[in-house]
Each structure stands twice: as structure tokens, then as C-alpha cells.
């Protein structure tokens, strides 16, 4: 009997197919490198070496991965309820306000382990708020979430320009950024984690928000597969008509899911603001929200897939930066 829902075995669907995708992507990218007259094997070597060649490089790779885990989870949570949240970018950006306010308020008087949880709650609150509005509009007014979240990215961007040039900028400074935080607003690095493997972290900003990202990934797994809310989300995601039959309130799920998604995106701001720059700068998100969409798709919206996908994208980011500087150098010679 033909079965339209035939499913590949798990190892093929979640292991082999992404692997083949990756290999094909590398081959196509290799062709492009060949076209511009460089050796693709060299490029691949520089890229992988740039991402994993040294403890410091690995630290950078995992630092980027931390950011992508948060935004990937954010997109994935919404996916499970059949919502396509393209606004993780803006939600992460606005989430930064929560982090910055907590740090500006407490950094000089409190140690980081007090500031960090408060900044986390702040980032969740602001991110969730920014996702609540599109969620509410979708639930009550039927405005499509894809459109509204994209629009909210632009509103977030303008709002942040205003805040960073007029409100949060210290007096007498020209740069659109907050003041640099004192020690209380700086997260400790995970140098001990890398030194377990005999690696030296160097200058890499790999910090404890990575551990928070792993915790968040576990939390998302519990939420989606082990809670009643997750059950309702998945029912709605797979079949809105069955959800209606089962008495699940669609507006409620849309709003709640968008707020969770926005909260996860907001937490991303902890990593660059408290972990690397120790201040909030203009455009600190740098497209991580959009990378989150790719991470969620590649990780099949499962936390166990999102973490490796995020590390892969972290590797691509860090490796690309390194190989670019290598190329420039060889041309200069």
C-alpha cells in the first residue's frame, strides 16, 4: 500500500540528510571559490582552522554559537505552533534594553551573579513585550505575523537609534552606545571549561551565557514535549482545525507562544552586551535573529538539532572572519 506519510528512519532524517546538505553546500561554495581563482581546499582549511584551530578560535566559535542557540530556539518555539516569527532580530534588539538597564542600574554596586539574573529577566521581559504586540495583532486582528514581525524589526531599529543617541548615551560622548559597565555588568568567561580540554581561551568572549543557552535548550524541549502548553502548541501547529475541535484557544496560544519566542530572542542580548562589549552598542544583534531562522530550520526545530546547527553557524562566522583575513594577507604580499 502506498503511504503518503512514509517516513525515513530517524538517523537518516536527522543525521544523514543535514550532512548531505552540508556537503553539497560546501561543494557549491567550493565552486565559487574556484571561480574567483583560489584553491577551495585551501579556503576550507583556513575556514575550519580559523574556527577550531586554537583554543581562542573555538572560544569565538562557541561565543557566536551561544547567540545563535537563543535565536534558533526563539524561531523554533514559534514554528511548533505554526507561527513564523521573523522578528527575533528586533526582539533580541529590544531585549538589549532590559540587559542594559539592569547593568547601568546595578553594575557599580552588585556582583555579576546578582546582576545577571536581573538582566536575564529584563531581557526576557523586553523581548516578550516586543513579540506580544505582533502576537496580539495576529490573535485579535488577524494581521499576519510574518508581516508584522518584519515591520517590528524596523520599528525596533529606529527606537534603538533614538534611545542610543538621545537617552542612553552618556553626556559628552559622540558614540551611539551606553557607557561601559563596571565589573558587575561583565560576565565571567568560561576559560575553565575550555581548559578542561587543555585549550587556552585567549581573548575569546566565550562566557557563561553559553551555559544559560544550553539550559534554555533543555527548557524548550521540556516545554514542547512535556507540558500541556507544548501539547496545545503542537496540536495547533500541526492542525489548527483539530486544535479548535479540542477546545484549544487559538488567540491564547498565539500570544503566549510569541511571548516565549520573544523572551528567548531577548536573552540573546546577554551574550554580546554582558559577555563581550560590556555596553550596548548600535546594531549589536548583527543579523543573529535571521541566522536563527536558518538554525531552527537546519536543527529541525528540535533543541538537540539546534545546538549543533548553532555551532555550525558559529563555525561559519568565525571561520569566515579568519579566512578572510588570511586571504587579504596573501593578496597584500
Amino acid at each position: 500500500m502506498s503511504n503518503p506519510y512514509a517516513k525515513l528512519p530517524g538517523w537518516a532524517e536527522y543525521g544523514l540528510i543535514p550532512l548531505i546538505n552540508l556537503v553539497v553546500a560546501f561543494l557549491v561554495a567550493g565552486l565559487v571559490v574556484l571561480l574567483v581563482g583560489e584553491n577551495p581546499l585551501d579556503a576550507a582549511y583556513h575556514m575550519i582552522n580559523g574556527a577550531f584551530g586554537r583554543g581562542e578560535y573555538i572560544g569565538f566559535t562557541l561565543y557566536y554559537a551561544t547567540t545563535f542557540i537563543f535565536t534558533g530556539l526563539s524561531v523554533a518555539v514559534a514554528f511548533h505552533a505554526g507561527l513564523f516569527n521573523i522578528g527575533s532580530e528586533g526582539q533580541a534588539y529590544i531585549g538589549g534594553i532590559g540587559v542594559a538597564l539592569a547593568c547601568l542600574w546595578l553594575d557599580q554596586t552588585m556582583p555579576w551573579y546578582i546582576v545577571f539574573p536581573i538582566a536575564m529577566l529584563g531581557s526576557i521581559a523586553f523581548g516578550a513585550l516586543w513579540a506580544f504586540l505582533p502576537g496580539w495583532l495576529q490573535a485579535k486582528r488577524g494581521s499576519h505575523i510574518v508581516i508584522t514581525t518584519i515591520m517590528f524589526n524596523f520599528i525596533a531599529s529606529s527606537l534603538m537609534v533614538y534611545l542610543l543617541t538621545r537617552v542612553l548615551k552618556p553626556l559628552g560622548s559622540m558614540a551611539p552606545q551606553t557607557r561601559t559597565f563596571a565589573e558587575g555588568g561583565q560576565l565571567p568567561k568560561l576559560d575553565w571549561l575550555l581548559s578542561i580540554f587543555g585549550l587556552d581561551i585567549g581573548n575569546a568572549p566565550f562566557n557563561i551565557s553559553f551555559l544559560l543557552a544550553i539550559l534554555a535548550a533543555f527548557g524548550v524541549w521540556v516545554l514542547i514535549w512535556r507540558t500541556k502548553l507544548g501539547y496545545e502548541m503542537r496540536t495547533m501547529g500541526h492542525s489548527p482545525s483539530a486544535a479548535r475541535y479540542a477546545g484549544i484557544s487559538e488567540p491564547r496560544i498565539i500570544i503566549v507562544v510569541m511571548m516565549i519566542s520573544g523572551g528567548l530572542a531577548g536573552m540573546m542580548a546577554l551574550n554580546p552586551i554582558m559577555g563581550e562589549q560590556f555596553r550596548m552598542q548600535l546594531d549589536f544583534v548583527q543579523g543573529a535573529g535571521f541566522v536563527g531562522i536558518a538554525v531552527a530550520l537546519m536543527g529541525r526545530s528540535h533543541p538537540a538539532g539546534i545546538i549543533p546547527a548553532a555551532i555550525l553557524f558559529g563555525m561559519l562566522y568565525q571561520g569566515a572572519l579568519k579566512s578572510r583575513s588570511k586571504c587579504r594577507r596573501s593578496h597584500a604580499i
Partner: protein, 171 residues
């Protein structure tokens, strides 16, 4: 019991056990606070699989991989095991194999014998005549006649076409 099991009655991508609580997932039996009680849900699903002879007997299998008849039995088990006093059933045997039809019919009669009210909605005249105690025929959104189950198909057919109905209404 909804007539469209693919889009309304079931979520085809769910495990069988997840579908066996659809609509009743607020029940305390299936929950630990806000968390799902996975063991209780699976045990309950396995119990229903036994009672309703759902094949293959695997509560963790994706619902899409069950045959139409067995999918329908999953819905039937879910709704009947709640012990409702009134059961409205839409098209219980559409796209269902002969063995399962017989099984489903037997269960519906059992419900009746327990003194429960069953409202069966179907386009299968044979099914209606075999199961019903009273037949109400609708035409253009109105009930146009009531017949005994031994009414002939021709008689019911005329009612369904609105012919007899108009005469009756005129009388």
C-alpha cells in the same frame, strides 16, 4: 465524534497516545501540574488499544501510519471511553474497511443498549437503517420527515429529494 478524522478528529503527525487524549488533555489524570504525565497517557492509550483492538498495537506509532479503520477506532475509543450520556457521531465508517465497520457498529449499538442517547449522522442509508431506532430526514436545512428503520430506501430517497417532504408539510 467528528466526521473528518484527518483534519479535525486526529493530528496525523502525533503519536497514537497523544491523539488518544486530544480534547481531554485538561484531565488531571494525564497531567502533573503543568506537565504531561507521559506514563499515564501511554498506559491509558494501551488500555484503549486493547479494548478496541487497534492495530498495530503500538501507542508510540505515528497516527498517520495506521489504516483508516484503525484511525477511526482511535477516535471512537477516545470519545466512548469518556462514558458520555449523549454521543453525536458523524460519518463513523467513511473510508473504513469492512471489519472495522462491523466493530464500530457493534460499539454504537452497545452504547444504545446502555441507555445512552446516540445521534448518528451519515450518508450511508444501509448504515442508518441498520443502526437507528428512529430516522429523521433532512432537506434544505430542515427536518422533512420521520420514519421507522424498516422504511424502504425508495421512501427515504424521496424524502431526501424533498418530494415527500413537501407533501407532508402541505397536509
Amino acid at each position: 465524534m467528528p466526521e473528518d478524522r484527518h483534519h479535525v478528529g486526529l493530528v496525523l503527525k502525533f503519536e497514537e497516545s497523544e491523539n488518544s487524549i486530544l480534547g481531554y488533555h485538561h484531565d488531571k489524570r494525564y497531567l502533573n501540574g503543568v506537565f504531561l504525565n507521559i506514563e499515564a497517557i501511554r498506559a491509558d492509550a494501551e488500555d484503549k488499544i486493547q479494548k478496541y483492538d487497534i492495530r498495530p498495537p503500538n501507542a508510540r506509532l505515528r497516527t498517520a501510519n495506521f489504516s483508516g479503520g484503525n484511525q477511526q477506532k482511535i477516535v471512537l475509543a477516545r470519545e466512548m471511553e469518556r462514558g458520555p450520556d449523549v454521543l453525536i457521531i458523524g460519518q463513523p465508517t467513511r473510508g473504513v474497511d469492512v471489519g472495522a465497520i462491523e466493530f464500530i457498529h457493534k460499539r454504537i449499538i452497545e452504547m444504545r443498549d446502555q441507555g445512552k442517547a446516540v445521534l448518528l449522522v451519515s450518508v450511508e442509508l444501509d448504515e442508518i437503517r441498520a443502526l437507528s431506532d428512529r430516522i429523521l430526514v433532512m432537506f434544505a436545512g430542515r427536518i422533512v420527515g420521520e420514519r421507522d428503520p424498516d422504511a424502504t430506501e425508495g421512501e427515504l430517497g424521496l424524502l431526501m429529494a424533498g418530494v415527500e417532504g413537501r407533501k407532508e408539510a402541505a397536509e
